[in-house]
Symmetry: none
Subunit: 143 residues, 10 copies
């Protein structure tokens, strides 16, 4: 543990975040995501929810400003009538760390899986909200 | 061993079940299934039958509600006139844990083998009943 | 993730808990414990506190009734005037799962380190309370 | 699986039993034995009880007639007033396979642990009876 | 790279710093320290000086308050008349991060080497000042 | 398989026999010998008896004439009244290949085990005769 | 070394010859053959010529009678006017061990290389005669 | 193979000879030497005799002039009445390459074994002459 | 080091040269050749120039007479007006060892790279002359 | 290769030199030194002489000023009457790079071997001069 670094960020997670560069992507996966069968690098964060992880990560992790939509969510599957309530939280957190903008791309479920399987890492969580998976594309650290 | 977890579930089996996510599949194989030659991950449960394993696993493992038929059985091979008696037990157990539904897909023998070889894991058993192999697709844990 | 198993318990943690037998010991370490330099097996639970881990683990993990004091805490170092407030919580949780008893042994800091280095596993946490390290000796699962 | 070999005997277990020779020892451990921390070779048989394993193993495994007591049980710990009821079953099974004799040595708990840690293998089980651990010394196959 | 984390701290260095616990030690070695022949874990920071590393590390790394002197410097070798000018800087940086205190232990050169070889890690630098090696004992993160 | 080389000699066995030099020892172990727990190199010849192996091996393998007794048998254990009938066969085979001489050393059971554990290799067999283990010391090939 | 086995046959060579089965091929390569860059298994016999190796090998190694031409030589390259004198020796040795027959196939240089690179093994020699490479296809051991 | 280098010297042998320095020793072992059980590095030269190897090696390999006796032979074992005829050849070859001198040390059999097991390498041969093992101590290449 | 073998030829280099056969190729690369990224086997000869290596190697290494041009140089890149002066030396050395002939093929830069990447080995040097890379195809050793 | 770094210094050599710190030692070994049997790390520089290596290395490598004699040579063996002429060159080179001083320790041959075997690395050369081995103790880089 270190002073000032949120406890939710493990030694392995911060190392992975630092190794990533402009354009690399990381997936924050909810409790039901098939992470172990899809990840190139798997970082387990059992017991945590995604908003806490997202808030802690975005404190350090710039979003890519070279693409229109540096954040990806999984589209609601046809037939599912729910409105994912967690998305509101994501918008708020992303806006807070991204100059008030939260431009988000929506991908069909299996396209999302494919993109996740090419990401630099997948972070598992115990997030129980539905449609809570989120992909972040790293931007340029400029300060 | 731990309090309350069925003894039939080994440390390795519960770890595999926990790592799986939405859409990942697991095969419960009978005594004659060519599991060792086909499995990406092999969990041996020698001496146990499939209904006991199925009952213990479904206590923890939700079936996928995003597909019509989250359970797969192997079709009786043409020319085989038997009616697999174990299927009745499977229907009862699955209904009990799946809201009274047991929608099942039937696959031709070699298609079943192919699908099994892509599953997250194969669990061997000593089930002697014929046509007793079963594939389960994991659903969403929502409680 | 599985139905009914607390999200805070990772696949690796439950596997380790199940592998342990009567008399084996596990350390729940606070955020400042030198776990990486001392553990025979290290299970990271960054971001969690010890009471949550303790509560989740004791649901499954019986304490040893063959020794007088199956729980070990680290003695307050001479000169430290504090009264570790977290101990009250530990007493309550342990009593709840141990038939109303919370018989605890206190070990001097470096003796505690030595015993921890011989334990079956050390679980790291982000517990910020002082003197929050705790060793549990596994008892007999009898139900 | 093979014709005539009890399903409870896994491929790994029969391999280990066959590799053993005169004087080598195997431990059948109950659900609470600290097997993972003590074994030179570990064979997991989760979900099974010891009498079933013992019966299946002694069908193939001769006991040593060159020592007075080829079977070892763990002495009841001082203060424990119970009479281990499973021992009656063991006596019966051993007599059946050992010419009506069941000469047994009793070892104090920690001496039993030491001897187990030098055995050729430890077989875990889910036996819930107390004092159900048993060490078998292999004899000479003479037919 | 991440926002707000000094660029001088590499992914590997921050991981090592986070893994360390209360009482673990790290060596910041000058350009002439025989680090490769002595380290249990070696983290290279070529091109940097120790004051910059020290400043960056102490922002995150608390010094041990359970020992009188949590910082160790290498004693000037007998016959060397110099007054290591860099020590002034170290005093200032340590005071700044250690509540105005900079209690320092001085070890003879070869005792310093021995202690360094038991540390959790050695960080190499390109510090050219003489007698610039410094050992830090990690304290308790309490905020 | 090759022309003229007895089928009982496996590729691995003949390689081991050829690698051995003057004074190196090999153990032909009976079905009950604890070979797997004692051998530096283990060559399995399941299904074969020792006289067949001995006959096939001595066709190629000279006995050491620099020691009085280049062959070692295991002494009958005190209390065992049997006369090992297989020894007669060994004498005949050894005499046939050793110029009519069969000078044999007898070692107490546990000394025999120790010597076996230092041999160049142990060959397992399925020999059912009692006291059928035999150690051969390689001599000089002189033709 | 063993009695009666030609010294020119190394432990590794006899093991390779015994492992081969019906239809497997071995190349005896002359001093100039690019064996190290082409062989799946390489057995070095530096300092020996091919006729000595061929004579020693054919004593044990049957030629395939299921093909018309179980022996392959390399065709003289167009423009090379020489008549490879060593072929006469090969014919004589092969006839001696192959019931008076020496049916031989001739392959163009690069086809010979391709076939050699698929052989079970290539045996290097120091044979200086030109066009001295020879491939042998193993037959059935029937005695 | 290369121009001018004797075919009997394999790529591995010349590499070993070149790596050796002043004072390092190499053993040329006869067909009966227990080389595989004693060598730190083993170079097989099956099928060759020691005088041919010795002649080829001494063309490149200087003997040590800093010790009185840079060559070691194995003493005839007490009771063996033979006069090793091969020694005459060794004297002649050594004199030819060593300025007419062949100063030789004789070591008792088991002392010879010990010294051989510390040598830089042991070269096996198929030399059938008795007492044909020879140790060479490398001298200084001075031209 | 050995008597008579040029010091510039390392143990590893001579082993590689000896292992090569008829038609195998070796590259002598200048100081600027991307050898480490292209070589199947890399032999470093830092500090040496190519003419010295070429002279030492050709003493042992015959050039292929079965192709018209057993030597390959890299064509001067279009636009480069220089005349590679080192080629004169190469011609002289090659003629000296190749019966007065120095038939050379010229390959375009990237074709040269491709061919080099398929060679048996690449030898690095510190040759500073431009266009100094040279490929040698091994011929037949016939003496 | 890089601008300004002598070609004689290989990538591996400069890496080793850079890793070394104050007090670590390196051996420059002559062509006859038993380097391969003694080195903890071996860097081959075949074909080069020691003065060239020494000159190139000392350009980068400071000698230790904390010991009286940072350079070690091997004492002339008793009975050897020669005066090692190369020492004059060493004195000159060392003086040039060491402020006009060449304080040298002389060690008896076998003590020199022992010290060399504890050095950080041994660099082999093809230096033919006698008594040309030299140990350098690294000093402090202070500019």
């Amino acid at each position: 543990m270190l002073k000032g670094i949120p406890a939710i960020i493990s030694p392995e997670l911060i190392k992975v975040l630092m190794e990533m560069g402009h354009g690399d992507e990381i997936v924050l996966a909810d409790a039901n995501f098939p992470a172990a069968s899809k990840a190139r690098r798997l970082v387990r964060c059992d017991g945590h929810n995604v908003p806490d992880l997202l808030e802690a990560i975005l404190k350090y992790f710039p979003l890519d400003t070279y693409v229109k939509k540096p954040v990806v969510l999984m589209e609601v599957v046809a037939g599912d009538s729910l409105e994912p309530v967690i998305w509101k939280k994501y918008h708020d957190i992303i806006k807070k760390y991204n100059n008030g903008s939260s431009a988000i791309e929506y991908l069909e479920r299996f396209e999302f899986y494919n993109r996740a399987s090419r990401a630099y890492a997948i972070v598992t969580s115990s997030e129980m909200a539905l449609y809570a998976n989120i992909i972040l594309k790293k931007g340029v650290v400029s300060e």
